[in-house]
């Protein structure tokens, strides 16, 4: 078995694409810095370094066009005197975009995009530099004259000979593949230094002449024969000729010139296995594999609860059996390891939200420039961890919200000053954990949402009737912006358009079992709050029964559980409500209306600013549920977000609270009674429920 150079080429290539993305991100960051401080030498150096690294990596991966382009750009960056600093920043941004497009094409092995925009910019920059007085002459004229030694050097030769050393004349030809002759010559001098004294060289030491032939006057007391071979340096020299000029303290005698040819490199026999090298600490793993592991952990958790149930039964039957305690210990241990395992696997999937945030400074800059606004972006909580798949899923919605904030949220500088605000607006991106959720906020300090305009628009687009609108609270009106059909085609601009409306944002979030909220401060700005579950796979849930069927909701959504009788409920505007301490709680009835003296439970749930009560028949307890996704065909309603299997094999449906609440909010008041009672009943059941005289006589 032998380790070959190409074994992992594909993997390495992928790795290159990843690191290149990172480099481009850095490039874009530096570009922003440069724009703020045009001409900052440190930033320019840093940009040059990044471009340089990219160039090298690209070349090693065979991405020739990218490497060449980066090389041209790097050359320009190496120069000095950028009269217009902003144009350089512009070039950096263009470079980032062009490089990114190239990388994408390499990765997909598709046709390479045009690189002309960048090339033109680079050339323009180069011209700009040339118009300035050159700092120093680039290259001297090539000289390859036979060496003529100066008087001083001749004197040194005489002295060396008198001191008993031989004086040699070496003619060294550099390997044509050696692209760095100056460095090559230096290396030859380095090789000579331990064996004697260099009296003079042509080209002279320190010369930037690119000559491939080098002549050296060398004094040494070493035996004649060995020197030339010792000065042969693989990959650098192709030929070393040695000539004795002066023999030590003896009359001068010419030694026949001796040529040492570079031996042709023989293909070396490689039969020995290479030693395995522990190289990388970072693994690239297909997300699917991790999902698989997580899935298995889920199955284990189901197994755990099966075991727990069997154990409970065993305890009931043999309460005195000594094996009971041993079982219990083993189970406690197993469950501890299991939860560690679960946590570890989850952690594997977690990535800091910074990965997403860091793309926004550039985006905000571009959009602000396009809209001719002054906007500053601040970030916080970048190190908050989030499931990678969630992160990917919210990329698009979040981008949309940020774009919106710049193009619609923030006012023009003039307007802002009129309103007594600083000329440049601020957009703040923030991420944090809250209970079992991750919250990502986009806030701006713009003019906020005008609720009257929302109403007008909603009426115009016939989302609500005038009558309904008049009865809606401010929060209800605001929530209309998330309704499909709210945003009109007229405002689809290049920037914030792209056909994505807030309704899409909401539907993405709901698909992720999350929610989006809008907090509005008229005149002072808006905050969009995206709430996401920490993970999609496993939740702590509260189990309850409605109409003898088992359901669950995430435990963290439950604020409290109240007990009541049917007779405690009241009806206000077709809504059922419960007076809970000093608050009136709107209720959502999931099942049938019960008899007057029937005891019921009300689960008080928090949905953003809202508090609602869910009427359920009985509670079943709390449990860790492994969510099994249901495909769209299996469930016709969006009220169910998934299902889970309990230890005893029973199936429990998990309610999707945001959808439930939304359904409740959307319900038109005159239908509210019918809509909100028996949300979980089948059509037939609801029909028969209508036959039962309900309180208030709604059918």
């Amino acid at each position: 078995m032998s380790h070959s150079y190409d074994d992992r080429a594909g993997e390495l290539r992928e790795f290159f694409f990843d690191t290149a993305q990172e480099l481009l991100q850095q490039l874009s960051d530096e570009g922003l810095k440069l724009e703020k401080q045009p001409g900052d030498a440190e930033t320019v150096r840093s940009i040059r370094r990044i471009v340089h690294t990219l160039k090298g990596d690209a070349a090693a991966c065979g991405c020739r066009e990218l490497s060449e382009l980066a090389h041209e750009f790097e050359d320009v960056l190496a120069g000095e005197g950028f009269s217009a600093g902003t144009s350089l920043a512009e070039a950096v941004f263009t470079a980032t975009d062009v490089f990114a497009a190239l990388l994408k094409a390499y990765r997909r092995k598709s046709k390479l995009p045009s690189v002309e925009p960048l090339r033109k910019l680079v050339q323009a920059l180069a011209r700009e530099q040339k118009s300035l007085p050159p700092k120093r002459a680039r290259k001297k004229a090539k000289t390859s004259l036979p060496a003529t030694w100066s008087e001083y050097e001749k004197l040194a030769m005489q002295q060396a000979a008198q001191q008993g050393r031989n004086v040699y004349h070496f003619t060294v030809r550099l390997d044509p593949h050696c692209a760095m002759p100056i460095a090559g010559r230096q290396l030859v001098l380095n090789a000579m230094a331990p064996l004697g004294e260099v009296l003079g060289t042509r080209p002279e030491t320190g010369s930037t002449d690119a000559a491939r032939k080098m002549e050296v006057l060398f004094a040494s007391d070493q035996p004649v024969g060995q020197l030339a071979t010792r000065f042969h340096i693989p990959t650098i020299t192709s030929e070393v000729q040695q000539e004795l000029l002066l023999e030590a303290a003896k009359p001068s005698r010419k030694e026949p010139a001796k040529a040492v040819e570079t031996p042709a490199m023989e293909p070396l026999e490689a039969s020995a296995p290479a030693v395995p090298v522990p190289s990388e600490n970072i693994l690239r793993v297909d997300a699917e594999r991790i999902d698989n592991v997580l899935n298995l952990v889920g199955e284990l958790i189901i197994g755990k609860s099966m075991l727990q149930q069997a154990m409970n039964e065993f305890s009931r039957r043999f309460p005195k059996d000594p094996a009971r305690a041993r079982f219990a210990d083993a189970m406690a241990f197993q469950s501890r390891v299991l939860s560690d395992l679960q946590r570890s696997v989850m952690k594997v999937r977690m990535v800091p939200v910074e990965q997403l945030f860091r793309r926004f400074p550039r985006l905000v800059r571009d959009v602000a420039k396009h809209c001719d606004k002054q906007v500053e972006l601040t970030l916080s909580g970048q190190d908050t961890d989030l499931d990678k798949s969630l992160l990917d899923a919210i990329t698009e919605p979040l981008t949309h919200l940020v774009r919106n904030a710049v193009s619609h949220g923030i006012e023009s500088a003039a307007e802002r000053e009129k309103a007594g605000k600083p000329a440049h607006g601020t957009i703040h991106l923030k991420a944090y954990h809250q209970g079992n959720q991750v919250v990502v906020e986009v806030s701006d300090d713009g003019h906020g949402v005008d609720v009257r305009k929302v109403r007008e628009r909603a009426l115009q687009n016939q989302l609500v009737s005038a009558e309904e609108a008049s009865g809606m609270s401010e929060a209800d009106l605001l929530s209309l912006v998330f309704r499909p059909g709210f945003s009109t085609a007229e405002e689809i601009t290049e920037i914030s358009g792209r056909g994505v409306g807030l309704d899409v944002v909401q539907s993405v979030l709901q698909r992720m079992k999350g929610s989006v909220e809008l907090e509005n401060h008229p005149g002072r700005g808006t905050t969009f709050r995206l709430k996401l579950p920490l993970t999609l796979a496993i939740i702590k849930a509260l189990l309850f029964r409605v109409e003898h069927k088992l359901y669950a909701i995430p435990l963290n959504a439950v604020a409290e559980i109240a007990r009541a009788r049917q007779s405690d409920l009241h009806r206000v505007d077709h809504y059922e409500v419960l007076q809970l301490r000093d608050q009136v709680l709107p209720l959502i009835r999931l099942g049938r209306t019960a008899a007057e003296d029937h005891k019921i439970f009300v689960l008080v749930i928090h949905m953003g600013e809202r508090k609602l009560g869910l009427i359920v028949d009985s509670l079943e307890g709390e449990e860790e549920l492994v969510i099994k996704a249901l495909d769209d065909q299996a469930v016709a309603t969006d009220l169910i977000s998934g299902a889970s299997i309990l230890g005893d094999g029973r199936v429990v449906l998990i309610l999707h609270l945001p959808a439930l609440v939304e359904r409740f909010a959307k319900a038109r008041p005159q239908e509210a009674g019918a809509m909100t009672s028996g949300l979980l009943l089948s059509h037939a059941e609801r029909h028969s429920a209508g036959a039962i005289p309900a309180v208030g006589g709604q059918a």
Partner: protein, 146 residues
């Protein structure tokens, strides 16, 4: 598909130990892979000059592959500092053609050799053998020295 006869340390027949210094993770990985094909062993990695010095102290490698342009401390300075402390250090500068002057400077300050980016494995292999000199030997029998 290049294959190389493993280069081992003459004194004990053990794999040659390398310290790879480059701010590009990719470049490091690329070099590490070549080293592997030479039968060498990656003793440590560093992404900047400062770390290179501490890693040298910690790992005492047989060979250092050192990039020129890096954040914090550039390769030349790092090479110079290492050679000052350890004159026996074998440092090979790795850089592109544009940085020739820096390479010359590094060579003047004690670096032993240089290779040009993009690094060709067959070139690096020759350079390594040269830099090791008497200290390295090419194994030609399977499993020699292991």
């Amino acid at each position: 598909m290049e294959q190389f006869a493993p280069v081992k340390r003459s004194k004990d027949g053990q794999p040659v130990r390398y310290l790879v210094v480059d701010d590009s993770v990719f470049a490091r990985k690329n070099l590490a892979r070549m080293i592997e094909t030479f039968g060498g062993q990656l003793a440590g990695e560093a992404g900047d000059g400062m770390t290179a010095i501490t890693e040298y102290e910690r790992t005492r490698p047989d060979i250092v592959l050192m990039d020129i342009t890096m954040p914090q401390m550039e390769g030349i300075e790092a090479a110079e500092k290492i050679v000052q402390q350890h004159p026996e250090a074998r440092i090979v500068m790795v850089s592109s053609v544009g940085y020739q002057e820096n390479i010359v400077a590094a060579l003047q300050r004690g670096a032993r050799h240089f290779v040009q980016k993009p690094v060709k494995p067959e070139v690096l292999y020759e350079v390594i053998k040269y830099v090791l000199g008497e200290e390295g030997s090419v194994a030609n029998a399977a499993g020699a020295g292991v």
